[in-house]
């Protein structure tokens, strides 16, 4: 018999080891799954985790890594702040969509004007849109005690309907021959979010993601607000004693993560996606939750986890093309990753002991 014995102090070594173990276990379990489905497991794992970076088509897929990682890291940075305080924003996907819409609205309203101010104004509008969408669950929690988990999650579906309405209605491209979707911002230089250095995939969203990582590192380790956030997550009464108002913290955390998600949405709409469509949300907001936890809610961890999850996106697409693996593969992989991470996380707080015969 084995049993779990609580540790006196959470193990620092396991804190680092469990994400790595989770990745390993995902590869093994994923490989088994592929084998059962009749694919060569080694080839599949290599296609997903190795080929995007070093395979024959790496020249195309490598820049994609930053394109996919940027929104994940930007959103996860915001989420991690709230998660540290025990404030659970599950609706970053919705804030991402609304941010994309409000940001694009500035561009579509300005069209066809030219000016240096347009793109910064779009970023600001995107952040504001995401912030506002995040403030809905914050205020409902502060005023009525509504669960921010449920409200933020449900608002994702509202946001998706808003995106569909925009794509088919108010934002439809008048020169689009009746097709749904807005003007393509990539063809509107003042409003586009281009690749900054050719061949790297780096657009303004990558810059923002890097800045976000630095910003939350500074906030959480150097600023008293970050200290209060950590205190509130670990010991809410002690935080109140120190002068933290829970309501302020809820508004701050949901607002911040909403603003980051909204910005990520804008960078996507103005860059890789190019336009508002009814398929604006691609799941970054949900995957970012995995990134935040896999990265241990730590800026550096989030950076690495964001790159890894981006890899599974690209590798999964590659595996679809070359091995005809089903499209759901990526989601299964990401799900397994979170599952194993949470499972192995038990080991940071408990150790396994053999039961001594009574």
């Amino acid at each position: 018999m084995i049993r779990l014995v609580p540790r006196d102090q959470t193990s620092a070594a396991w804190q680092i080891a469990t994400p790595l173990l989770a990745v390993l276990a995902t590869m093994i379990a994923g490989g088994l799954l592929f084998a059962i489905m009749g694919y060569d497991p080694l080839a599949a794992i290599r296609t997903i985790f190795w080929d995007p970076l070093f395979g024959p088509a790496a020249g195309y897929s490598r820049p994609q890594l930053l394109v996919k990682a940027a929104p994940l890291i930007l959103i996860a940075s915001g989420l991690a702040v709230g998660f540290r305080a025990g404030i659970w924003n599950i609706g970053a996907e919705g804030q991402y969509i609304i941010g994309g819409i409000t940001g694009a609205a500035v561009a579509l309203a300005a069209y066809p004007a030219e000016g240096m101010w347009i793109f910064p104004a779009m970023v600001l509008a995107g952040a504001l849109g995401g912030w506002a969408w995040g403030m809905i669950p914050a205020l409902l929690r502060n005023w009525f005690g509504a669960s921010e988990i449920l409200v933020s999650l449900m608002l994702v579906y509202v946001a998706q309907r808003v995106a569909a309405w925009m794509a088919f209605g108010p934002m439809k491209n008048p020169e689009g021959y009746g097709f749904p979707g807005s003007r393509n911002l990539q063809q509107y230089p003042a409003a586009s979010n281009p690749e900054l250095i050719a061949g790297t995939g780096a657009h303004w969203g990558v810059v923002a993601a890097a800045a976000a990582v630095l910003a939350i590192w500074f906030l959480m380790s150097r600023h008293i607000r970050g200290f209060h956030i950590r205190a509130a997550g670990l010991a809410p009464r002690a935080a109140r004693f120190a002068g933290v108002r829970p309501e302020t913290l809820v508004a701050f955390c949901l607002g911040l993560s909403g603003a980051f998600a909204g910005m990520a949405g804008l960078f996507e709409v103005a860059g890789p996606a190019g336009q508002i469509t009814d398929k604006l949300g691609t799941g970054y907001g949900f995957t970012a939750i995995i990134v935040a936890f896999l990265g241990r809610l730590h800026p550096v961890g989030i950076l690495l986890a964001g790159l890894l999850l981006a890899l599974t996106y690209i590798g999964g697409e590659l595996a679809q093309l070359t091995l005809q693996l089903p499209a759901a593969t990526v989601q299964v992989f990401q799900g397994m990753l979170l599952f194993f991470l949470l499972g192995f996380d038990l080991l940071t707080r408990f150790r396994i002991a053999r039961r001594i015969a009574a």
């Binding site: 102090q9 959470t10 600023h223 008293i224 670990l234 010991a235 009464r237 002690a238 109140r240 120190a242």
Partner: protein, 507 residues
């Protein structure tokens, strides 16, 4: 002490934890009909020893016998089956259930409810513990809740009853009632192992005392033949330095609380009802009361965790009613709550980080929102040095400190900020005698320096020792203060008693 009469016997019992020898070669015996005190400072090994007897911890070496039979319980269930019962300091009762339902939950094979209620009535009558089995726990006072725990034990008909600091939640009258019960129980042949810090009650009520220090039995004596001071000296292994109350002068009024009323923060909380008090410079005001009568709520109202109406809290004529905690600290009103882990300190934070919880404004540890880590660390080191906090260093997590050491840190963190007024709740709760003296002396020194101090405590000896004036909190109401000098325990008991104490007071 003959071998035949001993109900419980420990011989050379030892237990080690990583880095600590919690118990070392402990031998003692509890005889039938004896109330046997287990005395010792915090960390002396009392709780480890008791946990071994109750099957919560396994001894590394030595042997224990119960009624002459080998006693090595694998878990508390086995210990109970062997005849050991224990009343813990903290109750484990479900508020929403009745007395009988709670007792049934703790039994292996509960009898039908009607039969159980009859037995509860019977036992409570036999031992003079008035208790109605149909009452819900939520309606009971702390003393009555303890009776539920005791009756739960008595229904097992134990050979050995262990009581862990049972009087800390009782009024003096309730405590007297408890001792009457214990004596009746002892007279029927039950052995009782009694753990307490309160030397006076051990002297009055116990037949035998075993004194632990550093995990070892250092002495065994008849407590009735020794003074409290001698017992304390055995516990700490040296003379206790008496505390110095001298050199204080009452000055101008620093803090005024005027008709402070606040609703109960939650279902278990207590509403504050028109609380008024005034505190002078150099003065220590003692606030007594049985736990759960508004102590936490009063501290929260003074610390600023809960805001109150304008004009209810005045510090040197400045209205602080609506002022948040950090601004109150800046103004000079500081507080140290009762609950060290999770309220006064964040358990997972280092001591350095824990200074930032309260000392930011007055010690310049935070400037324009930026944390000055070096300054925080230096302040943590200062508190550790000046208050003799035993810890490897300021990077140690708060949870790794013993209760007494963390308490010294928490009090030190506030005292060294040189407050105008300091409010403390249970400053020496669960703290060993040496540390308690140090904490009390630091409060007196603070008052000598011209600050005002409010001590909220359930330890009457402590309040008598420290305070110049005494008042009692009862169901959220604060009595008028009376000078401590000349107040006797009976009068205090009546001040504390209020509604639920009256029936007890008549016995």
């Amino acid at each position: 002490m003959t071998a035949e009469a001993a109900v419980f016997r420990a011989e050379g019992v030892g237990k080690s934890y990583p880095g600590v020898r919690a118990n070392d070669d402990v031998s003692f015996a509890v005889e039938a009909g004896q109330i046997h005190a287990l005395l010792g400072e915090n960390g002396a090994g009392k709780s480890t020893l008791v946990k071994m007897i109750y099957g919560l911890v396994k001894p590394d070496d030595g042997r224990m016998t119960l009624n002459g039979a080998h006693h090595h319980p694998a878990d508390p269930r086995a210990a109970r089956a062997a005849g050991v019962a224990m009343v813990f300091q903290h109750f484990s009762l479900f508020d929403a259930l009745t007395v009988a339902e709670n007792i049934a939950l703790g039994m292996e094979n509960p009898p039908p409810r009607r039969e159980l209620s009859a037995r509860i009535r019977q036992v409570s009558q036999d031992f003079g513990l008035p208790l109605n089995p149909a009452r819900r726990i939520v309606t009971l006072s702390a003393g009555e809740r303890q009776r539920v725990e005791i009756i739960r034990c008595l229904l097992q008909d134990p050979r050995l009853l262990i009581m862990d600091e049972p009087t800390s939640v009782l009024t003096p009258q309730e405590a007297e009632l408890l001792f009457a019960t214990l004596r009746k129980l002892a007279d029927r042949g039950t052995a009782i192992l009694y753990i307490s810090h309160k030397l006076e009650e051990i002297r009055t009520h116990c037949d035998r005392a075993t004194i632990l220090r550093g995990g070892k039995v250092v002495d065994s004596c008849d407590p009735r033949a020794h003074s409290a001071r001698e017992l304390a000296a055995m516990m700490v292994g040296g003379e206790m330095r008496p505390i110095d109350r001298s050199g204080r002068q009452a000055g101008k009024i620093l803090l005024e609380v005027k008709s402070l009323s606040l609703p109960a923060p939650n279902a278990e909380g207590t509403a504050l009802k028109s609380v008024s008090l005034s505190l002078r410079a150099g003065e220590i005001l003692g606030i007594g009361g049985v736990a759960g009568n508004g102590q936490e709520e009063l501290l929260a109202a003074l610390s600023g965790e809960v805001r109150s109406a304008p004009g209810t809290i005045l510090l040197e004529d400045r209205d602080l009613g609506a002022t948040p905690p950090q601004a109150r600290r800046r103004a000079g009103l500081l507080a140290a709550p009762e609950d060290r882990l999770g309220h006064a300190a964040v358990p997972d934070f280092s001591l350095t980080e824990n200074t930032l919880l309260t000392a930011g404004p007055r010690k310049g540890l935070v400037r324009k929102g930026l944390i000055d880590r070096a300054a925080a660390r230096a302040y943590a080191e200062q508190v550790i040095r000046d208050f003799d906090v035993r810890t490897p260093g300021p990077s140690t997590a708060a949870r790794a400190l013993s209760g007494g050491n963390l308490q010294k840190f928490v009090i030190g963190r506030e005292v060294l900020q040189a407050p105008r007024v300091l409010v403390v709740n249970q400053p020496t709760w669960g703290v060993d005698a040496g540390a308690a003296t140090a904490v009390r002396q630091s409060l007196l020194d603070l008052a000598r320096g011209g600050a005002g101090v409010i001590v909220i405590s359930q330890d009457l000896d402590e309040l008598m020792e420290l305070s110049d004036r005494f008042c009692a909190l009862n169901e959220g109401r604060l009595s008028d203060p009376r000078p401590t000098a000349g107040l006797n325990l009976d009068e205090i008991g009546l001040m504390l008693g209020g509604a639920h104490g009256m029936e007890v007071a008549q016995i």
